[in-house]
Amino acid sequence: MTEGATLTAAELRERWYQNEISVPPISYWSVVRRRFLRNKLGVVALAVLILIVAAAVFAPWLSPYDPLIGKPADRLENIFSFSSGHPLGTDEQGRDMLTRVLYGGRLSLLAGFVPTLVAGVIGTIIGTWAGLVRGAVGAILMRAMDMLYAFPAILLAIAVGASLGPGLTNTIIAVSIVFIPPVSRIAESETRKIVTAEYVEAARLSGASRIRILRTQLLPNVLNEIIVYSSGLVGVAMIIAASLSFLGLGSRPPTPEWGYMLESLQGDIYVVPAVVAIPGLFIFLTSVTFNTASDALREAMDTRLS
């Protein structure tokens, strides 16, 4: 470097500029990812969760048994029956518990994800719209939500589930209805907070329409809160769905579902308590990991980067 001494002021400034802007752009989501990965507990929970989801998705390839037809002769074998090829035992009809748990996970996870997604979308639409237009329309929307919100979640789910009749689809509908009010309330309060921000006013100044402002300015920022809140709802949705199944309002026999499996095995709790506990253990494990991962996500997203 011999020309270092002969740099003009303009060249120096250019070099300084290059240094300054050589820092790569870091989007909000890459900051969130970095912060999340630093949280050990959250990463472990997420790993377990991915494992459970993958096991449920690939159930047909993982389990050698039929989930619906068992051998009555082998019924109610205890766990760790490796000699007979049933590491988690068998149920009251001689069906392999490992197979049933894997297949059951498909429905249970479905009953956790789908209502959360449905309620997330509908609740966000209702909430952001109410927060944006306010006035009479907003008030009517939000008071209707408050009416639903006044019932305890599980009671409302039972009421809706009972009136629709048993079945997985109806369970999903019931749980979705239960979740729409809290999601829309969060969306509404976030929208009301953001709609007065100066960057929204700047967008209005540029002549953008209401829908465009909603899409480009409000939604990306409201979704933040919704995602954090919804991720915690998946575990709750699974528990409600399992409870409905346990009460006979959810999925119907012989399809395996964790809540229904608990119900059908409850008579044998004194014979093979460990086997009876397995579906409950999986419900517990999944919802706890979901909530732990959700907490980690909340912490990672709460970055005060405005």
Partner: protein, 339 residues
């Protein structure tokens, strides 16, 4: 009444009798808040009008009425001869007036990159993609930032850089009038000086007209050609910046100017301001002259009759009964007040 000083340049902004009242609820009562009351101002193309006043005097409301974010309840705003009043802004109006906001932190969408934020007004106005990129790069350079910053996000920028981006967003449509609402108030003093100088450079480069709103009297003096002093939603004094700082007429302006902190110890004794009164609530402004509750020269007439704008000196308007030949005694205000 409007004071029209320099007749050489055409007025780009004419505000005539603008009034803005907010309706609110206080418990069960419905109340009216008089934020801007019968304000008339004219701004010549290429000049800077400063608006000063305490917090809550209606400066920001007036700014939002000028750019059309608020709809005025009365009066008219005419922009380069085109009248408009809130509601849907035509493309022409959008391209004519822009605003730079106070808080460099909340004025940028945290999820949008710098380029997306600056390019947003262009996308709304259906400017072709390739042109957006070149215009964003150009305006970033004009505000003293490297074009590569367009891929960065607000949380990576300092307060001064954010404010440069805000200015760039306001300028990208090449407006004629820019309303600067406390645009430098939230910045550190050293950054403030940079941004003020940048604004002055841009005024020449982009041939801008500024409405510069601030509570900082020093910055307003430095930036402005003419200054309007606002108190509780009304303009109480309007004149050239130099005249205002040399010989303020309205008792409120005098009070404001003596409240500027000084570094000269010998001047401090003179600074003891007698004013400890609360600012009256805009919910229920005083009758007659709104300043009379704090005015050391208040007379009987002040409670009965609201003063009108009087041309007390050439190009120097003041809204005070003291300068009304029927009631007041102008000599009194320039000497020591005895009451």
């Amino acid at each position: 009444m409007t004071i029209d000083a320099s007749t050489d340049a055409p007025p780009i902004l004419e505000i005539d009798g603008v009034t803005k009242t907010f309706r609110a609820r206080l418990g069960l009562r419905r109340v009216k808040i008089s934020a801007v009351d019968n304000v008339s101002l004219t701004v010549q193309a290429g000049s800077t009008l400063g608006i000063v006043g305490e917090s809550g005097c209606g400066k920001s409301t007036l700014a939002r009425v000028i750019v059309g974010l608020h709809k005025a309840d009365g009066g008219s705003v005419r922009l380069a001869g085109t009248g408009f009043n809130g509601g849907k802004r035509s493309r022409e109006i959008v391209e004519h007036t822009q605003m730079v906001f106070q808080d460099p932190y909340s004025a940028l969408n945290p999820r949008a990159s710098v380029g997306e934020s600056i390019g947003f007004p262009l996308r709304v106005q259906h400017v072709p993609k390739e042109e957006i990129a070149t215009r964003v790069a150009k305006v970033l350079e004009d505000v003293g930032m490297h074009p590569n910053y367009s891929t960065h996000y607000p949380h990576q920028l300092s307060g001064g850089q954010r404010q440069r981006v805000n200015i760039a967003r306001a300028l990208v449509l090449r407006p004629k009038l820019v309303v600067l609402d406390e645009a430098v108030s939230a910045l550190d003093k050293s950054i403030q000086a940079q941004i003020v100088n940048l604004l002055l450079d841009l005024q020449t480069a982009y041939q801008l007209t500024y409405v510069f709103i601030s509570h900082d009297l020093n910055v307003v003096e430095y930036m402005s050609d003419k200054v309007a002093v606002m108190y509780l939603g009304q303009v109480v004094e309007l004149c050239d910046a130099a005249a205002l700082y040399e010989s303020p007429l309205h008792p409120y302006t005098q009070m404001l100017l003596t409240s500027i902190p000084t570094l000269d110890p010998t001047q401090r004794a003179a600074q003891e301001t007698p004013d400890n009164a609360e600012i009256p609530s805009p919910l229920n402004p005083p009758s007659g002259c709104r300043f009379r509750t704090r005015c050391p020269f208040a007379m009987d007439i002040c409670a009965e009759q609201a003063p009108t704008m009087i041309t007390a000196r050439p190009d120097h308007g003041v809204s005070c009964h003291l300068f009304d030949p029927d009631h007041g005694d102008p000599a009194r205000i320039s000497t020591e007040g005895t009451r």
